[in-house]
């Protein structure tokens, strides 16, 4: 049609909707020629589907749960709600709703977090950099390498020192990296004297241009333990190459118990306990997170008293990604041969048992500061209320972990939050959604802005400014369970 209006066929009224307008139901609109259900301020619908930014109507219209009438169905998030800046204003939305007969109030605001950062867990065995190494984005220091966990390298990015304690560039680069990571976008990070890694929430890391496929099944020693039985009788010895703990079947307790005879194999590196070796090579991005490309480089000559020609040796990495099969020649030198079919299966089994490698991004921030003043005139009472579990804290409707001790320091998995939930201010600081949910009576007790409490129903009026998302089924419903 000439005027760009579209016909909505979500119901038989068949509204003819102009661009930027909504239909007679207040629920479907014409956004740039697309029929959508929308909009910016996010209201979570407790629906069956996982939330998408905008729900195209044909896909989900039949699941649409109708009007928003109860707190048991609708939760108003802080995403797009606006902020309380300069802090003493009441939070932009203080919503009351009835949940199972109890009046609940949710105070929602977009908090400006100067004290915040992300904790990254990168599933990889590859060596990304030494502990404490600086992590850079756009050439600026934005964080550091912290501990190596089981199958994962942890990075800590952001924090007030990078955001505000360094140069202007450092702060901006840090804020930029945090914002993108929190909004589940890809960010390239360069580690001093280490790897360049592309990180994106819920996606596999890309280390020095190579996408990580899978997480290790376990350390080298654990891999021996898990697969010893499957190797027994099919091969004389197995070495699982691992930068942390390399395992050797014939010496390992698992091999001993099965009765695997000695093979005279000798490994470089430091023997920890029988069949478990530390530091067989230097850390790297090759076999089992070491720097070796030739697995034989970690072996010393075989013990001529024990070894005999024809012995079969499998060398494999902790993900099954690298493997090689050898047989000893008459001089007891390992010669590479094609991997026999019977062993191919066990290598495949290691691979199968590896979970897909992912990056996970936890947002961490301190809400114990002035944003509390948007909730109550007596800020410390909010802290106590959170501490006493009378108040539930959520980020964009996603559950958070509240650190014990003082303040309101929270961690939330950005993958469980709606898309693009974060913003920034040029301070620089991150803007993150935060909601406090508590009983109306408790809210009154802690000095809440009772005259600003609005019923949930009032929010629904301006439907064209709200974005309605299906709540994720794996998140606890923020209003669902009784709060103590």
């Amino acid at each position: 049609m000439a005027d760009d209006a579209i016909r909505c066929d979500a119901c038989p009224v068949l509204c003819y909707i102009k661009p930027g307008r909504i239909g007679s139901c207040d629920r479907y609109g014409n956004a740039d020629g697309q029929l959508v259900r929308l909009d910016p301020h996010v209201v979570l619908e407790r629906a069956v589907s996982r939330g998408e930014t905008v729900v195209p109507f044909l896909e989900k219209s039949r699941e649409w749960s109708g009007a928003l009438v109860s707190g048991e169905e609708t939760f108003v998030t802080a995403i797009g709600a606006g902020t309380t800046y300069p802090d003493y204003k009441p939070a932009p939305f203080i919503i009351s709703s009835e949940v199972a007969g109890v009046d609940m109030v949710t105070v929602v605001t977009e908090g400006i977090f100067s004290y915040c950062g992300v904790k990254l867990k990168i599933d990889t065995d590859r060596h990304l950099g030494a502990e404490c190494s600086i992590v850079r984005s756009q050439g600026e220091a934005v964080g550091h390498v912290t501990t190596n966990e089981y199958g994962s390298q942890m990075l800590s990015l952001g924090g007030v020192r990078h955001l505000t304690g360094g140069t202007r560039h450092e702060g901006t680069a840090t804020c930029d990296a945090l914002l993108n990571l929190c909004n589940r976008k890809a960010v390239e990070l360069k580690i001093d004297d280490g790897a360049t890694v592309v990180v994106q929430a819920d996606k596999a890391p890309i280390v020095d241009g190579v996408q990580e496929e899978r997480m290790r099944v376990g350390c080298g020693s654990a891999t021996i333990g898990m697969f010893a039985k499957q190797w027994f009788g099919k091969v004389d010895d197995v070495v699982v190459v691992d930068d942390h703990i390399t395992g050797v079947l014939s010496e390992h307790q698992a091999g001993k118990l099965l009765g695997v005879p000695e093979t005279g194999i000798k490994l470089k590196g430091r023997r920890s306990t029988p069949g478990r070796y530390f530091r067989v090579a230097e850390p790297g991005t090759s076999w089992g997170g070491t720097n070796i490309d030739d697995p034989l480089s970690i072996l010393a000559p075989f013990d001529r008293e024990v070894a005999r020609p024809g012995m079969r040796l499998l060398m494999v990495s902790t993900t099954g990604e690298h493997f090689a099969y050898f047989e000893l020649d008459d001089d007891l030198h390992p010669k590479e041969r094609q991997l026999p079919e019977v062993l191919r299966e066990s290598v495949a089994r290691i691979r199968e048992n590896c979970e897909p490698a992912l990056c996970t991004v936890l947002f961490m921030g301190g809400a114990g500061g002035s944003l509390r003043a948007g909730v109550t005139e007596n800020p410390v009472k909010l802290t106590h209320s959170v501490r006493d579990a009378l108040t539930r804290v959520t980020c964009g409707g996603a559950p958070v972990y509240v650190w014990p001790g003082g303040g309101i320091t929270i961690m939330a998995d950005v993958s469980r939050m709606p898309e693009d939930a974060f913003g920034y201010v040029p301070t620089p600081a991150l803007v993150a959604p935060i909601e406090f949910t508590l009983k109306l009576s408790d809210y009154a007790t802690l000095g809440g802005y009772m005259d600003h409490v609005r019923p949930l129903g009032s929010i629904q009026r301006d439907a064209d400014t709200r974005r309605r998302l299906g709540a994720r089924p794996d998140n606890p419903w923020p209003l669902a369970e009784k709060i103590k």
């Binding site: 119901c11 102009k18 207040d26 007969g101």
Partner: protein, 299 residues
Amino acid sequence: MSTRAQIRMLPDGCRLHMHDGPIDLIVEAFGEAREINAAYNAASSRFVQVLDELCAELIFLRSPARQNGPLPTGPIARRMAEAVKPYAAHIFITPMASVAGAVAEEILAAMTSNARLSKAYVNDGGDIALHLANEETFVVGMVEGPDRASLFGTTTIRYGDLIRGIATSGWRGRSFSLGIADAVTVLAETAAMADAAATVIANAVDMPEHHGIGRVRACELAPDSDLGERMVTQSVPELSQREIGIALERGLDVAKRLEASGLIRAAALNLQGEMRILGSERCAPSENISRLLWSPAHA
């Protein structure tokens, strides 16, 4: 029959919520459990037919009402045509002016003809049809506008009052208004009558000489609006006390005429914090918060 319709009990276990396209009803019946159950079943069975039935005659229902024109075929459409007929000779009005009230009435009728209820209501986005058995009463609260949940008054409706319909209209509401009233609430014999009258009175609360009022052709906002080229209110600037008074009196004049001809029983007109009440003996200061008001979200 519609497969779009969604029908479920609200979490309180008492009220029934029914939704289909632009129709959104909150229903509550009072009486013996068995009877309530029968009433809700009847309401549900009828509800799933409503939207398709209306849409089948949508062109007719969006056309100006004529005093002696043909009648539509559907029972709800007939209620609509009946409710707007008294206005047809005098002003522009289409049967759509009473659609919400007529739907509420129809569902209520389905319930009361299939169950013995002490009382019941069907709330169609603020347009409410009531059923009262002997001796029963409803306490109804009134709000100034859809964005303000505080009550400015309550009124008690008794069996003996010839009031079974309540409706509210205003430019802030879900439907377009030609006037500037924030909310006009009307009590009338039936919900469809109340709905039509609230629309008419809200249209009359106006100040055409004020150029600051934002008005847009209805068809520019919604090409298929029954209001066509008519200018509908999109914004109202802050008015002086004198202007508020003039606009409210214009609405009140119309309300008085409607009351005199038996089309309404009472009305409350709101504009920027000022109020005029017709049949003021009905309204008491706010005391009880009626459930009626808390259930719907829309005007």
